[in-house]
Structures are given as C-alpha cells and as structure tokens.
C-alpha cells in the first residue's frame, strides 16, 4: 500500500489529477474519522478533512517520501483539527498531564467492577458501549480526545505520538492514562454501572 | 450655467451617485462588545440576545461598550469606531426576503468576511486580537 501511495504521489506531483483523486479516495474516510474525533462536529470534520487534502495538494512538491503519505495527511489533519478547536474552552480543574496519587482513585471506578467474568457479558457490554463511545469522547477536552484518536485510529506508537504532539514519551503515557480514565468515567455514566459494585448476579435481596 | 444645464448636471450627478434604487434600506443594530478574561464574571444584561454565541467563548466578563442603530443602503459601507480608534467597515451586500448578507472588513487585519443571516440571527465578529485578556467583538443584526 505504501509503495502504491508513493507511485500515486509521483504521478500527482506531475499534474496527474486522477492519481491525486485516487489518494484522496483511499484515505478520505480515515482522515475524516480522525478529524471527527478531534473536532466533534461532523461538518467541521468534513471541512478539516477536505482542507487537509488541499494542503497536501499544495505541497506535493515538498513531499520527500521520508514518511508515509498517510502519515503526512494525518499529520496535517491533526493540526488543522486542533487549530479548529483551539478556542474550545472547557474549564477543567485537573488539566495537568502527570499522574498523581489522587488520580488513581478506586480502580473499581472503571467500566467494570471485578465481576465481569464471562465472554458473552463482555461482548454485550461492548456492543452497548459502541453506541455510547462517541458521545463519551465528546465530553473529553481536546488534548485527550486527540491523543486517544491518534492512538486508536491512526495507531500511533508512543514514540510517534510524542513526535506528532510535541511532547515527551512519559507525557504521552500519562496523558493517555488521563484520557482513558475520563473515557471510562464518561462511559460508566452512560452504562449506569455503579462504581463499587462489580457483581452482577441479579440478586436483589442484598 | 443655464438652468436646463444645471438640471441636467444635477440629474447626471444623481444618477451616478445613486445606489441601486430598487433595494430597500435595512435597519441594522450594531454593537461593540468587550470580552475580558482576567476579571470577575459578569454578563451585561443588554447582551442577553447574544448569550448563546458569546457563551461559546471563555471570556468571563462581557460588556456592551457601544450601540448604534443604522439605516444601511446596500453597497454603502458604514464605519464603526472601536475603542482603540480603529474602524470596522460594515456593508450590506445583499438583501433577499428575510436574509441579509453583510460584509465585515478590517483593513488592519486584511480581513473581509461575508456572512449571510436571517432576520432572527446575529453576526458576532471579533474585531480586535486579544490583548491583556481583552478582546472586542462587533455584532450586527438586521431588523432589530
């Protein structure tokens, strides 16, 4: 796929619009999905995604093939997305990246207690959460949405995330920790699972 | 100059200077609004119709600093003076039924924004970059 991309880039560079269009079509949905995770709004995500490809087109001559084409377009989309929500103001008390003792809380606050044993239960829970996860994501501040989206959709490693976001690897890990923790909390509200009670044995008599 | 020539000259001037005659003038309420960040929270009650738009931003204090009711002819630019002495150019570019297209221009920022709204909406346009936690916005509304 990557070599294929480079061939298309070479043709697009020399003015072959069909080759450029092929590149757009190949990555449009994934770029849109990343943008959607960051900017939250479907129409803004559409604009960000389109704009990312326009920028790519403008700078085809600069692309040296040192990174993958897909990395390049995702990088542009990330920055445009972050730019677009730069003014998003969510007043947070805990905006620091580092993980502190207080952040650990009760591990039972996670989406599961200790009681979710069987696979069918997990599968059911997953299906239910699939419908809620985008809404849960939207409640997170931009920096947490972004790092989760890049980790999960683009599949970036800690090192790649550090480079993309301009932060240290340690910060990547702790920011992801906070992001996942917030996500779990948001999902917990949706799924209405009580924090301390992991047991789901249906026994109401207690 | 003879009378007939004066009349002709006057007519010629009138025809050249007149805007497109068919369009009606639009009453527009323009306000200059100040947003402050490093101040105690306060929302000027005169701005209640802008609350939905202004509350998207994180300024803690909102204050109306100027209000002007203008009658605008399509194509003719009105200038609104800002607290710093700068001017923002506002022009009604088009009117169709219930919708009006405004153009907001700021020479110092090399900006011209063309925005179309209907009679129940307002434009809120930042007109100064944030400095010292303070930024100015201009709002425009047709048929207030």
């Amino acid at each position: 796929m990557e070599a294929d991309d480079l061939a298309l880039v070479a043709r697009a560079r020399s003015g072959d619009d069909e080759a450029f269009r092929a590149l757009v079509v190949r990555y449009q949905r994934k770029v849109y999905a990343v943008a959607l995770g960051i900017v939250k709004d479907a129409d803004s995500a559409w604009d960000v995604a389109q704009e990312a490809f326009v920028r790519v087109h403008e700078h085809l001559g600069d692309f040296k093939g040192e990174s993958a084409f897909s990395t390049w377009v995702f990088r542009i989309a990330t920055h445009l997305g972050i730019d677009a929500v730069r003014r998003e103001r969510v007043a947070l008390k805990d905006d620091v990246d580092e993980v502190r003792e207080a952040d650990l809380g009760d591990a039972g606050e996670g989406i599961l207690g200790t009681g979710l044993g069987s696979d069918p239960q997990a599968a059911t829970l997953r299906r239910e959460l699939l419908g809620k996860i985008q809404g849960a994501l939207e409640t997170l501040p931009e920096k947490h949405r972004t790092i989760l989206v890049l980790r999960e959709i683009e599949g970036l490693s800690y090192e790649e995330l550090a480079e993309r976001l301009g932060i240290h690897k340690g910060t990547v890990m702790s920011r992801l920790f906070h992001a996942r923790k917030k996500m779990q909390a948001a999902l917990r509200e949706y799924a209405e699972i009580a924090p301390q009670d992991g047991r789901d044995d249906g026994d109401e008599s207690e | 100059m003879t009378t007939s020539r004066m009349v002709a000259a006057a007519a010629a001037v009138a025809l050249c200077a007149a805007p497109v005659l068919a369009r009606a003038d639009v009453p527009v309420r323009v306000r200059v609004v100040k947003g402050s960040r490093q101040t105690p929270p306060r929302f000027d009650p005169r701005l209640s119709d802008l609350k939905k738009q202004l509350s998207r931003l994180s300024y803690s204090q909102w204050e109306q600093v100027k209000e002007q009711d203008l009658t605008m002819s399509p194509g003719k630019t009105e200038f609104v003076e800002l607290p710093g002495g700068e001017h923002v150019g506002l022009t009604v570019v088009d009117v169709r039924g219930d919708t009006v297209t405004f153009e907001v221009a700021m020479a110092t920022r090399n900006t011209q924004s063309r925005l179309t709204i209907d009679k129940n909406q307002r434009i809120v346009h930042q007109v100064s970059p944030e400095k010292g936690g303070v930024a100015y916005f201009m709002s425009a509304r047709a048929w207030p």
């Binding site: 949905r29 419908g131 | 700021m106 179309t116 709204i117």
Partner: protein, 157 residues
C-alpha cells in the same frame, strides 16, 4: 501505593513500547495489584471501540462528493475571481487612485474571503478555513461567531 502511579500508565503499552525493565516491573506489579488488573481488564473491554465507532460514522456518511469538493477548493485557490480580485489588481497597479473616503480603509489590502452561509434550514459551510485574519467561524443557530487569530500566531501547521 506509589507503584500504581508509576505502572498504571504503562498498562496501555503495546509490544515493544516498554523497555525490558519496565515490562518486567509492570508484570510484577500486576501480579500483586488487583486495582491495576481491574484497570487492564476495563481497557481490554473498550480496546478498539473508539476506532470502530468513528470509522462506522465515516462509513455511514456519503463520501461521494468529498473528492469533488477537494478539487473544487483547489480550483478556487488557483484563480481568485470576482470584484475583489479585480479591485486588488487595480490597487496594485494604480496606487495613486484615491477612492472615496467610504472605501479607503477597506481597500488597504484585500484578503481571502470567508463565505459563510447559515440559515435555519441549511447546513452551514465554511469554504475557507484559514484566511488571513479570520481564524475560525463557529456556527450557532443564532448566527455565526467569527474569531481572529492571536496577535503573534505562527502560520498554520
């Protein structure tokens, strides 16, 4: 419990992302910490869900017009047309022309237009995302909110 502060963020790591020491430390910690095991279990439940959900959204949307939209934007950038482009050309070529007082500040230097159309029925479209001066347009049902970039913003990416 300070071990959790160190190891809980490592739970998310994939193969090769931790050093052998970190990996060994994490394994040892998990063996003895029910809390972190619970965290790991919770993460497994939601692993991949975000990607699945957002990509499903992308798949639900009609992308037919997307690439045409991209090409249209590229075209628009190539050839600025219309009154303003001609006016700009006029100012550049005839600097001595003094327009009426009504126009002078507006013509100081023309920039890329931001067109936003918003009505109650139509979905708003921002045609140019980063024109000089205007940084962002936020759509609300009450009307557009147009924001400027900060004074010393570096250009784009």
């Amino acid at each position: 419990m300070t071990d959790c502060v160190r190891y809980a963020p490592m739970i998310d790591a994939r193969a090769g992302e931790l050093s052998p020491e970190e990996r060994a430390g994490l394994e040892a910690h998990l063996a003895g910490c029910a809390g972190c095991r619970a965290r790991a279990a919770a993460q497994r439940v939601v692993a991949g869900l975000l990607s699945e959900a957002l990509l499903a959204q992308a798949n639900r949307r009609d992308f037919g017009p997307f690439v045409d939209g991209v090409m249209a934007r590229i075209e628009r950038r190539r050839a600025p047309r219309g009154v303003l482009a001609r006016l700009r050309a006029a100012v550049v070529h005839h600097p001595r022309i003094t327009f009426g007082a009504a126009l002078a500040p507006v013509l100081a230097a023309l920039a890329i237009l931001v067109y936003v159309r918003t009505t109650h029925d139509e979905v708003a479209r921002v045609l140019e995302l980063n024109s000089e001066g205007v940084d962002m347009v936020v759509q609300t049902s009450d009307g557009p909110l147009v924001l400027m970039g900060a004074e010393d913003d570096p250009e784009g990416t």
